[in-house]
């Protein structure tokens, strides 16, 4: 593996970057379990796809693990109460998002008893039908815990089971500072392997390849020991390079296959899941327990006691940090708050945002770590081209986006960008390249939405015009009809009068 890396480096085929991983000492610290907080804030959208719909009322008592919001649509996930208590409100809260905008959430006030509902576990998952496994995983609200939060059931039982040959388990955790997956692989390797076996049964894949970066030697040893008795599960250490944990890159390194653009790994018979997701699937099937908690890494120079913490979904980041030892000097020197990892994580406006299913890390950075600076002009050094794992030209794309030529940027590959951040990481001019790409993708999506909206409003205007024309026409027809009736009635009346007059005259004459 080392020789191949060297060879490829010489040939110039070394994509990505190799940042200081800064995972220790946080990774080596034992896992701490956070007690139930007083209030939990559960956004209705914690996953990719349609938001969940609340099925509880304010004031309702719920038990731990009870369904409080149901999935809407094919791609969606339900939300369960992380503890027992009362529904305090269903309202808007600040989203864990850089914009600082709000999103609807259910606020749950804990009652302190932490009572579970009755869970329907399963003694032998391998006797279950795969479709049933998929249903239970969906009902448990399991989503991808690597960060993307895609509803996992969709990737477990697809329509064409026969197509999936390989299950890739992502133990890469390539982002610096984060070690939640590392911690879980060290502590719960046997459970993870059990979860993988269940996933193998559900997907019908022949083998599972677990990719773990080689900067986690303890995790590799633990997983190898756990998988020793399971021939279908192979533990594969991979070189530590960011973004090795990215799906396309991991699949290429583990299997040698390239995922075609605009298609998914499923199309080449591969399904990828995170190690944390394997644990959640196991809990959902064996114990019947929904996804209500996860491990989060608290790290960064400003964190007093960095380490991994198991928290309930919906806990405010503020409280997680306080439990994990707080910030140095109560936050003096804090330059940026990040949820997720440093390369792809999101800046959050303040700490009073909740941990959601996809939150892998809470990072408190000082100015030196962020290294923010006014960007210099691009010197066309090409470092970004060398670093891009997708083979794009970030300098060209950003130049076009700067001039608002979004379609040209798409023409040279904007849609293939995975927003990994390697380009901005190496840029000597500190140009915020990823921000250009995210902005452009957002603008293009907004333009598409605008176009749909314009088409719809044009149609509405047209329909209104047709309605008015129809109404005018009907009115004219009715008026004409009434006029004809009136004339007919008047004519009939006149005829009758004339006839009567004629009759009296005739009578008069004859008399």
């Amino acid at each position: 593996m080392g020789f191949m890396n060297l060879f490829k480096h010489f040939l110039g085929d070394d994509w990505g970057v190799h940042p200081d991983d800064r995972k220790r000492p946080a990774a080596d610290r034992p896992l701490r379990v956070m007690p139930v907080p007083e209030k939990l804030y559960l956004p209705l959208q914690q996953h990719l796809g349609g938001p969940a719909r609340p099925v509880v009322l304010v004031g309702q008592q719920v038990k731990k693990g009870e369904l409080i919001a149901e999935a809407q649509g094919m791609i969606s996930a339900p939300i369960h109460a992380p503890t027992s208590g009362t529904i305090a409100a269903v309202t808007d809260i600040t989203a864990p998002h850089p914009s600082g905008l709000t999103l609807p959430a259910i606020i749950l006030a804990a009652d302190g008893r932490d009572e579970w509902i009755d869970c329907q576990g399963c003694a032998d998952p391998f006797a279950l039908d795969p479709v049933e496994i998929g249903k239970r995983v969906a009902a448990a609200g399991v989503v991808g815990l690597g960060g993307a939060a895609f509803p996992s059931a969709v990737k477990l039982t697809g329509a064409a089971r026969s197509k999936v040959k390989t299950l890739v388990i992502n133990g890469g955790e390539c982002e610096p500072y984060l070690s939640c997956d590392d911690r879980q692989m060290r502590d719960r390797a046997a459970d993870i392997v059990d979860g993988i076996r269940i996933m193998l049964h559900a997907t019908g894949a022949r083998e599972a390849l677990v990719g773990i970066e080689d900067n986690k030697p303890e995790a590799i040893v633990a997983m190898q020991a756990a998988a020793a008795a399971v021939p279908e599960v192979h533990i594969r250490p991979v070189p530590a390079r960011y973004p090795m944990g990215s799906e396309k890159q991991l699949v290429q390194v583990l299997t040698g296959k390239e995922v075609a653009a605009e298609s998914r790994t499923f199309d080449i018979g591969i399904v990828v899941h995170n190690v944390g997701t394997a644990l959640a699937v196991r809990a959902a099937i064996r114990d019947g327990r929904p996804l209500i908690s996860r491990v989060v890494t608290v790290n960064g120079n400003c964190a007093n006691d960095p380490g991994n913490v198991e928290v309930l979904v919906g806990t405010l980041a503020e409280e997680v940090i306080a439990f994990a030892g707080g910030l140095k000097g109560d936050g003096i020197g804090l330059a940026r708050r990040v949820m997720g990892g440093p390369m792809m994580g999101m800046q959050i406006p303040h700490w009073r945002v909740p941990v959601v299913k996809g939150t892998s890390g809470i990072l408190a950075f000082d100015a030196q770590e962020v290294a923010a600076q006014e960007p210099d002009p691009c010197i066309r050094c090409g470092s970004c081209v060398k670093a891009c794992p997708m083979g794009l030209l970030p300098l060209e794309m950003s130049a076009r986006i700067r001039n608002s030529a979004y379609d040209e940027a798409v023409g040279i590959g904007l849609k293939d960008c995975i927003a990994c951040g390697c380009c901005a990481y190496v840029c000597p001019s500190k140009i915020p390249l990823v921000q250009y790409f995210v902005h452009a993708k957002g603008e293009l999506a907004a333009q598409d939405r605008n176009k749909l909206r314009n088409d719809a409003t044009k149609k509405l205007a047209q329909q209104r015009q047709e309605r008015l024309d129809r109404e005018a026409r009907e009115k004219a027809e009715a008026a004409a009809k009434r006029k004809a009736e009136r004339e007919a009635a008047a004519a009939a009346k006149a005829a009758a009068e004339a006839a009567a007059k004629q009759a009296t005259e005739t009578e008069g004459e004859s008399a």
Partner: protein, 361 residues
């Protein structure tokens, strides 16, 4: 809870940086040039030092002037990114060491104002500013630009001291004939033009030398020191090996072939490699970020083009030295090279179409 300094504007990921910076890169290049420059001062005396200093000074001065005129908001930061100093330094390396002061000033003006700022400043120029200046000077003032001096430590004449060097520099006194000397390339060209074949010409002419004990510009002196500087840049990953190796190969291969065919007419590969500013051009000029292609394949093509054109101009063209012209010509080709030498996007073929999905994976 007290958030200290927090950016009010929304920022996207990444929230970490690798530490690379423009000024660090420029500083490393200047460090790589230092040995050859100091050696040049020793070889050619004080006038060389004055030329170097004034070229850099005038480049910086014109940069300040241009930035102020353009209304750039961050004049100080832009000034200290090191690019103007580097342009001046490279330009000085290619000039004859005893060139008069006005060559430095005019050269600085052309390099910075016309070669760089007119295009839009750092990162926007199409042509290498130092080469633009050198070519413009060469074409406009051929005499001072081709007046080469033999290295003084070797000669029997006394080295001019500080004051007389200043006088030479500022008043452009005609250099005594005894001190002028032809470069190897110049000598070869004039002799060939006179009909004398190379074997006899070279016998009487200046020696080939790895350590530059012969007439030439700073950049010609001590090819070995330039090579060391280039290796330093390679090790610190400021440059990659593709462009320099391609330049050297682009000269050496045709030269070797031609020399084998007709040694009387064509100089050997070694002669080509060690004379003129070829080493300087290969490691410092052809690797200039702004004016060279983005991809390694493109850089190889770029380098080969420079090498080949240099050899052609040297052997068949009117000027004895061809690197500057070759660089400018290939700079013009860089956008075309960039258009055709793009990396392959993962998941797509070379043409940009998504890869075919195999029937049974």
């Amino acid at each position: 809870m007290t958030p200290a300094t927090l950016t009010a504007q929304t920022v996207a990921s990444p929230h970490a940086h690798g530490g690379n910076s423009v000024s660090r890169t420029m500083f490393r290049v200047q460090l790589a040039l230092l040995p050859a420059t100091l050696y040049g001062f020793w070889l050619y005396g004080w006038p060389a030092f004055f030329l170097w200093a004034l070229t850099i000074l005038s480049c910086v001065a014109f940069e300040v002037l241009s930035l102020k005129l353009m209304g750039t908001p961050r004049v100080k930061a832009t000034l200290f990114d090191g690019s103007a100093v580097l342009t001046g330094w490279l330009l000085a390396m290619t000039l004859p060491p005893w060139a008069p002061w006005w060559v430095a000033v005019v050269g600085g003006f052309i390099a910075i104002v016309i070669g760089k700022q007119v295009f839009g400043g750092l990162g926007q120029n199409v042509f290498n500013p130092a080469m633009v200046a050198r070519v413009a000077l060469l074409v406009s003032f051929p005499l001072p630009l081709t007046l080469w001096v033999a290295p003084l430590p070797m000669s029997t004449l006394p080295t001019p001291d500080f004051v007389s060097s200043l006088r030479i520099f500022l008043t452009s006194l005609p250099v005594p004939d005894a001190m002028t000397s032809a470069t190897l390339l110049g000598h070869a060209k004039t002799e060939l033009a006179r009909g004398i074949d190379l074997a006899t010409a070279l016998h009487a002419g200046p020696d080939l030398s790895w350590i530059g004990m012969r007439a030439g510009s700073f950049g010609e002196s001590a090819a070995i020191l330039i090579l060391c500087g280039g290796l330093y840049l390679l090790i610190t990953r400021v440059i990659t090996w593709h462009a320099p190796l391609a330049v050297l190969a682009g000269v050496a291969i045709p030269a070797a072939i031609a020399h084998a065919v007709d040694p009387g007419r064509f100089l050997s590969a070694e002669a080509h490699l060690l004379s003129g500013a070829l080493m300087l051009g290969a490691f410092f000029i052809a690797t200039d970020y702004v004016t060279s292609p983005n991809t390694t394949t493109g850089q190889i093509i770029f380098g080969l083009g420079i090498g080949l054109l240099t050899w052609v101009i040297r052997s068949f063209g009117g000027y004895p030295e061809g690197v500057a012209f070759a660089v400018l010509l290939m700079n013009a080709m860089t956008p075309v090279i960039d258009r055709f030498c793009k990396p392959r996007i993962l998941g797509r073929d070379r043409k940009g179409k998504p890869l075919d999905i195999p029937e049974n994976a």
